[in-house]
């Protein structure tokens, strides 16, 4: 496991069944010698294989919860909770209760990632307005160079665009993620309050997916992440549930943050598909969820068929982050709960606005590192050589059965042809071809006059 990714295989559990290779949107998995292997250059951390694997051989690499009971002088731990976390529990569990539970776990500070999301919404509105002005100055056929803007909230989408839709890189919202905005704010805030240097603050993020951990390890568009460790939502869940059980008799909790600075409800909305787009003050938006749907919409944008839309919010997971591979709740139940959470958030904010932090307090950063292109899909660095390989690939493909059965360990016959050309597989990896071969040899043996 390199430092690039957070989806990993447990070889002991893998039976080599090929379920995962079929669902992978970037054809990054092969089964070789009875075990799956992930091509790290092609993996975008979408977690489809985690969902699909019937043997639970695919999992997310996440960090461990620290031993918070141990004295830690001079160091303060903070935990950043994404809004999708609120949808994991029943409607009886309120935001203040959950925040209290996280303090009970031993964290010194709790921050809602919705704080950063709300700040990002405001900044994105400004960027949209700039784009609108730019679009007005352009002839109609060039609007497609500006619109639609594409949300960069889902790291999987960003990585997908880097690999398969490079022409759309300039369409991405060039702002750091809510997780980063919040982490940076938390670090500065805690340091100031406690007279500590920023390096004494350790930020943990509770993630609904492996891709956000990868984004913390390898930040997108920025040099360094302010998130130090990433916990899997599924791993924190049991401990929180336990604490909540004991809190039941005490559910009159209305406030639990150290100093009442809840996030604006606009930030809470981000957890569900389309939630970010709804905060941007435009009705010319499109929300698309599920990685395969995302791919077809990105194709449409690349073909310039959607320039009448101002903002596209693609989410890798069905339902948005609440449907993340590390989320615990049934995604449909989570949608209902999320609606409740948002409605409550809105009402409470209207009743006691003083408890809420003005999103203007935080400043999202523009990306300062250009997003590199990922060229792992191309056949060769040199187009001439690539053409030669392509022709060879077509020749091989014509001889393959076209069943796309996956028994060779590649997701399709075309992928096997590519693997053969690249020297990573043999024609006889195809069982149909192998059978033909054996039949031929058997016939030859029969005709031998011994």
């Amino acid at each position: 496991m390199g430092k690039l990714h957070s989806v990993a295989l447990n070889r002991d559990l893998c039976v080599g069944c090929t379920n995962c290779i079929k669902g992978c949107p970037t054809e990054a998995i092969r089964v070789r010698e009875g075990k799956a292997s992930i091509d790290e250059k092609r993996c975008i951390d979408c977690g489809e294989c985690i969902r699909i694997c019937p043997h639970h051989a695919k999992g997310a690499v996440t960090d461990q919860l620290p031993d918070l009971a141990k004295p830690h002088p001079g160091i303060l731990y903070s935990v950043l909770i994404p809004p999708s976390f609120y949808a994991q529990f029943g409607t009886a569990v309120s935001r203040p209760m959950l925040i209290k539970a996280l303090y009970s776990l031993g964290f010194d500070y709790v921050y809602e990632v919705a704080l950063g999301a709300a700040a990002s919404s405001l900044r994105t509105r400004e960027l949209l307005e700039e784009k609108r002005r730019l679009a007005e100055s352009l002839p109609p056929e060039e609007i497609s160079t500006v619109f639609p803007m594409i949300s960069s909230a889902c790291p999987v989408v960003v990585r997908l665009i880097q690999m398969k839709f490079k022409a759309l890189i300039p369409h991405l919202v060039p702002l750091d993620a809510p997780m980063e905005i919040t982490a940076r704010f938390a670090r500065a805030d805690i340091a100031a309050k406690n007279n500590l240097t920023p390096d004494k603050i350790i930020n943990y993020f509770i993630s609904p997916c492996p891709s956000k951990r990868s984004a913390a390890l390898n930040p997108l568009g920025q040099k360094k992440s302010d998130v130090d460790f990433v916990l899997g939502m599924h791993e924190v869940y049991p401990a929180i549930l336990n604490i909540l059980e004991h809190m039941k008799e005490n559910n009159g909790i209305t406030s639990s943050l150290r100093d009442d600075r809840y996030a604006d409800y606009n930030g809470i909305q981000w957890a569900a598909a389309g939630g970010e787009a709804q905060t941007l003050g435009t009705d010319k938006y499109m929300a698309v969820d599920g990685i395969h749907n995302v791919i077809s919409i990105l194709e449409e944008i690349e073909n310039e068929h959607l320039s009448d839309i101002e903002f596209v919010e693609p989410s890798c997971c069905f339902g948005g982050c609440i449907g993340g591979p590390l989320a615990v709740a049934n995604p449909f139940a989570a949608r209902v709960r999320m609606r409740n959470v948002i409605r409550n958030a809105r009402e409470e904010q209207e009743n006691s606005p003083e408890k809420y932090l003005d999103p203007e307090t935080m400043t999202p950063h523009l990306w300062d590192v250009p997003l590199p292109e990922n060229n792992s899909m191309r056949l060769d660095e040199d187009i001439g050589t690539a053409l030669g390989k392509y022709n060879k690939m077509e020749e091989i493909l014509a001889t393959l059965p076209g069943l796309d059965c996956g028994a060779c360990g590649a997701p399709t016959c075309a992928a096997l042809a590519e693997d053969i050309v690249q020297g990573n597989a043999l024609e006889t990896d195809c069982i149909i071809k192998l059978k033909e071969h054996i039949r031929k040899v058997a016939r030859e043996i029969n005709t031998l006059d011994l």
Binding site: E141, K164, N303, R378, I383, A386, Y390
Partner: protein, 115 residues
């Protein structure tokens, strides 16, 4: 074609130009030429796109090249086509555009896009 060019490692800008030029030519072949055939030849430094139809042909090529000029039927316009931008767009995105047409016999559009 887009998938193939991507696999070959062609720059996204060039792929985009080729895709738009080809799309416009295909739409023309469908609207005016009653369908047709596309032949794509890829060279190490460029792609040649030929769209061949056996439709009515173009009586006045110069006029057809003008932005906004269109003879598309109402049915096509109702679907958002026929803005008279087809050929001008092809000329804009292709590095070389040749139109071989004969009234009553058909049209062959040949475009080259350099990488």
């Amino acid at each position: 074609m887009k998938k193939t060019l991507t696999k070959l490692g062609v720059r996204p800008e060039s792929i985009k130009r080729a895709a738009i030029a080809m799309y416009e030519a295909e739409i023309n072949a469908v609207i005016h030429g009653h369908g047709g055939m596309a032949v794509v030849t890829i060279f190490p430094d460029s792609v040649k796109i030929e769209i061949i139809d056996h439709g009515p042909g173009i009586p006045d090529v110069d006029q057809a090249m003008r932005e906004g000029f269109s003879t598309a039927p109402d049915a096509a316009r109702e679907m958002g086509f026929g803005a008279g931008m087809g050929l001008p767009n092809m000329r804009k995105h292709a590095d070389n555009l040749e139109i071989d047409t004969k009234v009553g016999e058909g049209t062959k559009v040949t475009m080259y896009i350099k990488f």
